[in-house]
Symmetry: C2
Subunit: 335 residues, 2 copies
């Protein structure tokens, strides 16, 4: 609506001075600065973002890519995390763009378009895989980025992640301590980093306990996946006494399969999930779970991004958040 030229004219000043007054440069007299600020306020002036980006040669925006295809996207709280992240970014004048991609194939295309066109100054990478080509691409191009979840090359870049490995180790330890002999793992596809780490934690606890069994089944991280996995596990010669599920969604599927076979979770068979979904407290029986012990992952993510844009080295920006157990009714005793 109103621009610098209008503002300057109405004040009898030059565009330069108005611009510098608003940007807080020191070479403008205090009285002038106040006059300018008042006028800007009165005329409801906001710098035109396109002009500013053009001149500054940055987009003042951060992009997050979302796969559209596989039906469901991550845990339901994910959108809240993005919103919190966006809010923090907005405090620094950065927009958050949603870049949907058509499946994994289209992902790299989307990245190329994004970066060739300079539509974003930095990128948030979600749903990280252990071997994630996106990381290589972004490093090569020199675009700042933060991953939500680690990768095999984590030591080289900024990331934020929950300590799923410790969480699953602790949970499996507790199950073992309470007498469980056959603690099965319902795994998510192992190319996903979070799935790999959670399985690793489970394995570590089994090693500690000297347990020889390695009962596991990998499925999609959905209710249907957990259901399918549980059915398979129950069909084995020596079925498990505990199910450690990669996600709550899978655990909910597991509960359903158990019920169908006449088992009561938390009595005959223990079940523990991860994410502490809102609905976890309302399953039957209420689902024992675990969650990242931080209320503001989104905000932290944003702050890492801002630090990265400010030139901080990605290797200094690596956060692993503790995971807290949320015991409810389904982790019940074996003996």
């Amino acid at each position: 609506m109103s621009n610098l030229k209008l503002l300057a004219r109405s004040l009898g000043l030059s565009i330069t001075t108005v611009s510098r007054a608003l940007d807080g440069y020191s070479d403008v007299a205090p009285a002038t600065r106040e006059r300018v600020q008042a006028a800007a306020q009165a005329m409801n002036y906001r710098p035109n973002p396109a002009a500013r980006s053009l001149r500054r040669r940055r987009a003042e925006a951060v992009a997050v890519t979302l796969p559209t295809e596989p039906g469901r996207f991550g845990p339901p709280i994910f959108l809240n995390m993005l919103a919190a992240c966006g809010q923090r970014l907005a405090e620094d004048g950065l927009d958050l763009m949603l870049l949907p991609t058509a499946g994994r194939a289209g992902e790299m295309d989307t990245y190329r378009r994004l970066l060739d066109g300079r539509r974003a100054d930095a990128v948030i990478v979600v749903r990280t895989r252990l071997d994630d080509e996106r990381v290589g691409f972004l490093k090569e191009r020199g675009i700042p980025f933060v991953t939500h979840g680690r990768t095999a090359r984590s030591e080289e870049h900024a990331f934020i992640d929950g300590d799923g490995e410790a969480g699953f180790r602790d949970a499996a330890r507790q199950l073992a301590a309470s007498g469980h002999q056959r603690i099965a793992h319902i795994a998510a596809p192992q190319d996903l980093t979070f799935a790999h780490l959670r399985r690793k934690g489970w394995l570590a606890a089994l090693d500690e306990a000297g347990s020889p069994d390695r009962l596991e089944y990998t499925a999609q991280p959905t209710e249907a996946g957990g259901y399918e996995a549980t059915q398979w596990l129950l069909r084995q010669d020596t079925p498990p006494t505990a199910l450690l599920c990669a996600t709550d969604s899978m655990a909910i599927g597991a509960l359903s399969a158990l019920k169908e076979r006449g088992f009561t979770a938390g009595r005959e068979i223990a079940v523990i999930g991860h994410d502490n979904l809102p609905s976890a407290a309302f399953t039957d029986p209420p689902l024992s779970s675990m969650e990242i012990a931080a209320p503001d992952v989104g905000r932290q993510l944003a702050e890492m991004l801002i630090a990265r844009l400010g030139g901080r080295d990605g290797r200094e920006l690596q956060t692993i958040l503790p995971v807290r157990q949320v015991p409810r009714a389904t982790h019940g005793p074996a003996n």
Copy 2:
């Protein structure tokens, strides 16, 4: 990376001609156009979006505002809808921006900043309320917008919505037809349009059935809300025989409360929700629900937005999508 000036120089043409060749103007010779296109391809040219917006005086972006506060945001599939929407927008070169707002108070502020700064050409309004100040504001400013969910002023603007009223009327009818006498409604806050319409459908069916009872309880659209509502309803002198819940999340809470009191949903008491959440098929018993009978709400939303940006009148862009019942185990008979 590369720009029009470079391209033009390498081709021995003027910037004007290169620009017009790529934009498909008719006043450029076919041979020249091909030469230009080939060079653009080879040099990996993409128009600088900031420069383009500056000159064209539009942002080439669409914004959606998200409240960050109240913990959970809408049904989990919401993010998928946004992703689908963003994908369709991208086909027309439009970016999708996420604009988080700090609670309802900050919402109008965010809108003002957004529009004063011309950061977006159009807006998606979600979580519509019956009396929604955002609609008035956007109409006044003349910014194209589409609401996801109706408002009290729906006839004046573009919207897309499911026919929750018919869905709840049908569900309540079926319950009545199978002998239920006291069909209670677990309502979401009535300022939200979807909640109002679903309640209206329930009321209509009760009227048809000549049922005098109006047993209802309003709570937050979460599992906890449904739980609380059910507890209250069961404490009444003549408890309901059926619970029609505004959302599946509430229905899941209801199932939990019923179980706690020793009831089996689908036998003593029927329960029906709305949204057909992925987990609805895995509750115990599996939850009867309903859902919008369209796979591509997000894409349709995007297309309405594009039509709106193309100058189409909002009154011609109003879609009410049918709602389909998804019967499972909990809508069981009364008699």
